[in-house]
């Protein structure tokens, strides 16, 4: 039987096993939406803005490891997803974006709601397609999912003109894909793995630095086994948090600009560094000329272009993190040599000294709510086991620093692109994927406003997300930089005329709460998380002057961190404009 192009699009999604898609209808997409209406296997979540739909699909993908799917119309429908696509691209998230296009005969005519979707998305997709012939439709869909989900994952856009969705053809979904131009390397080179093991076994001051790639590769168990087998210190990037259990004694915290003192000092002083699924991002390395001056670096990555891009590497290993770590473990086990225990003990002693600085200490006696305190209470109440999404800024760093992630895929944030507005829609995708698990959206009053419309989506689908709004009436991270580097000229970082968040949440049909005293934090969180049915918007009025510490300023190295003023650095005069 012949199917229309629209039916084929939906059948392809069914055959891919897609449960949820996130979208917003419009003229060019109407045939596809009609096909969607006639079936019930693929459930469509109607966002309130295409950006929200794209972040929701992204959140779903991050929480499950399955590709997130977005369906939007042409023109503004697809341009509104660009921020979401770029967010997914920077963090290597598998996503398939189906954008409807004006009919083929109108392409190039500046037709109503026409935009060159393939052109505008090109710089921020792993790949994209314009389907110009219905005979290519099913195979293109198959390729899109294959490319999105293999190698270094990423978003793939498929642009489908309206007339193609009306034409008919016999449907057959290809069982497999073979592309001569696309074949990611999975297995690491055995010679390089041997060299890596030799370096690791001869290390005196080793460190294992792992990133989001370990999570994408489902290699967290293997990473944990490797770290424990070696007894080496392990640090995670912002994207890699949860890949190694935070409470484990071998874990020394996040590294980078707002990483722990011990992680950054250990990175600086190490003699052998094993980097796995991490890309030496500038927020991680600090000033490159000062980066780990004594280190011989082993770098495992599925993307050859990530290796040697920012930092020269001694032993490059191209391959899937899980496969390569398994090979490393095997070779290590068969080796008669063991790590030098005496040297390792000396190294751990040094690390423990750095840890004794207690770089994440803050004033717990404060009369105003300290944002760090809220996150610590959140961690306590949820047992470190909630899914935590975040927006971008100070609250994001505090969540990363103070929430103790013990599992992968629980920490969901826009690390690469730094997209404000990500947290709430991402939480929708996460909550749909895990309906019985607590989902917290840690946000700030500036970020949350950027996709606040999605509160309406949350109502429609009864998503019991807990929004933790750390409200300091400032774009906190901007204000912090202005305080440090712009002589306290707080240019446009103050949020004037903020809404009444309690009333706002209630107007969307949710529960709103405002919490002003440290003593009320725990009770509010307990009440909210005890309710499995409703969305709670908790507006925490927090200390306006709080800064994120420790910090590596621009141009500085890992060993040049600013510690919190309370920890012995020069006292800072604290006042706001």
């Amino acid at each position: 039987m012949e199917l229309t192009g629209a039916d084929i699009v939906i059948r392809c999604l069914q055959d891919e096993g897609i449960e949820y898609i996130f979208g917003y209808p419009g003229g060019a997409a109407l045939h596809i939406y009609d096909a969607l209406y006639k079936q019930d296997k693929v459930k469509h979540i109607l966002a309130r803005h295409e950006q929200g739909a794209s972040h929701a699909a992204d959140g779903y993908a991050r929480a499950t490891g399955q590709p997130g799917v977005v369906l939007v119309t042409s023109g503004p429908g697809v341009t509104n997803t660009i921020t979401g696509i770029a967010t997914a691209y920077m963090d290597s998230i598998p996503m398939v974006i189906l954008s409807a296009q004006v009919p083929t005969h109108l392409i190039g005519d500046d037709a109503f709601q026409e935009v060159d979707a393939v052109g505008v998305s090109r710089p921020c997709v792993k790949h994209n397609f314009l389907v110009k012939d219905i005979r290519d439709l099913a195979s293109t869909m198959k390729k899109a999912f294959h490319i999105a989900n293999t190698g270094r994952p990423g978003p793939v856009l498929v642009d489908v003109p309206k007339d193609i969705t009306a034409q008919t053809i016999e449907y057959e979904y290809p069982k497999s894909v073979s592309m001569r131009s696309y074949a990611p390397v999975i297995k690491g080179h055995p010679k390089q793995i041997k060299r890596a093991v030799e370096l690791l076994l001869n290390a005196k001051r080793p460190i294992i630095y792992s990133g989001g790639g370990v999570i994408h590769a489902h290699a967290h168990d293997e990473l944990t086994e490797l770290v424990r087998q070696l007894g080496f210190p392990c640090t995670n990037t912002l994207m890699g948090l949860g890949a190694y259990p935070s409470k484990d004694p071998l874990f020394i915290g996040m590294l980078g600009m707002h990483g722990t003192y011990e992680a950054n000092m250990a990175m600086h002083d190490c003699d052998v560094m094993l980097a796995i699924g991490a890309r030496f991002d500038d927020r991680v390395t600090g000033e490159l000329t000062k980066f780990s001056p004594h280190a011989k670096i082993i770098h495992i990555d599925v993307d050859p272009a990530s290796i040697g891009k920012n930092v020269p590497v001694e032993v490059p290993i191209v391959g899937d993190a899980r496969t390569v770590i398994n090979d490393l473990i095997r070779v290590l086990k068969s080796s008669s040599k063991k790590p030098d225990e005496a040297e390792l003990a000396k190294w751990w002693k040094q690390i423990h000294e750095w840890q004794s600085v207690n770089c994440l200490a803050y004033n717990r006696e404060s009369d105003v709510i300290k944002p760090q305190f809220v996150i610590q209470k959140l961690d306590e109440i949820t047992g470190g086991d909630a899914f935590v999404t975040s927006d971008v800024g100070q609250h994001q760093m505090w969540a990363a620093q103070y929430y103790q992630f013990s599992q992968p895929r629980r920490w969901i944030n826009s690390g690469g692109l730094g997209t404000m507005g990500f947290g709430l829609p991402a939480a929708m995708g996460v909550q749909l994927a895990h309906p019985d698990t607590s989902v917290a959206c840690v946000t700030g009053e500036a970020s949350i406003i950027m996709c606040i419309q999605e509160l309406s989506t949350c109502k429609q689908y009864d998503l019991p997300i807990k929004v933790i709004n750390l409200n300091n009436r400032y774009m906190g991270m901007v204000r912090q930089w202005q305080e440090f580097f712009y002589d306290r000229r707080y240019s446009h970082s103050y949020m004037d005329a903020l809404p009444d968040f309690v009333a706002l949440a209630e107007s969307f049909g949710h529960v709103g709460m405002q919490i002003e005293k440290p003593g009320d934090v725990e009770g509010a969180l307990k009440e909210a998380f005890a309710d499995r049915k409703r969305l709670y918007f908790m507006d925490f009025i927090t200390d306006q002057t709080e800064n994120v510490y420790p910090m590596i300023a621009a141009g500085k190295g890992h060993n040049e961190m600013h510690l919190s003023p309370g920890l012995g650095d020069e006292p800072v005069e604290r006042e706001l404009a």
Partner: protein, 163 residues
């Protein structure tokens, strides 16, 4: 250092813009870029002349390889190779210059492929520096226009870029 990278890529709409987009997005140099289908009509062959440090060239080849439409590539400058570029030059050819230009064209082994009372149109192939030298030499007369194809290249000996 100057490099000539030969690329086999899927002969699909948009493949060229992906390569061009990559170079502009990442701030790499393109000195010249030529592309045309090969004997296998599903494949295009591109010759790209670029320059940069070894680290940048390594990134360029890796990033090119990452493009889904790139099937295979080769840095021609890694080994002995032949470079050729085609140039068409229209010059003013009147009075004494007519003879002089013809002599120069012969010396450079070019051909005059079109003639009017006052102009010659000259065809010349060779490596880039030969074409540069010819343009310098021909300035005995007035150059009306110069059209260069951009560099094409192929490896010497058995080394080849094919599937």
């Amino acid at each position: 250092m100057r490099r000539i990278i030969s690329i086999l890529l899927e002969n699909e709409a948009g493949a060229l813009s992906r390569v061009a987009g990559l170079f502009s997005a990442r701030g790499y140099n393109i000195e010249s870029l030529t592309v045309a289908p090969t004997e296998d009509e599903t494949l295009s062959r591109m010759t790209l002349v670029t320059s940069g440090s070894d680290a940048i060239i390594e990134q360029i080849t890796k990033q090119l390889n990452k493009l889904v439409e790139v099937v295979k590539l080769m840095d021609l400058t890694d080994g002995p190779h032949i470079e050729r570029e085609l140039m068409l030059v229209k010059v003013k050819a009147v009075n004494g210059a007519r003879e002089e230009v013809k002599r120069l064209v012969d010396i450079f082994r070019g051909r005059i492929i079109d003639v009017t009372d006052a102009t010659y149109t000259i065809e010349l192939t060779g490596p880039g520096d030969k074409l540069d030298a010819f343009v310098d030499a021909i300035s005995v007369t007035e150059i009306i226009e110069v059209v260069r194809s951009g560099m094409s290249g192929i490896a010497r000996g058995d080394r080849a870029l094919n599937l």
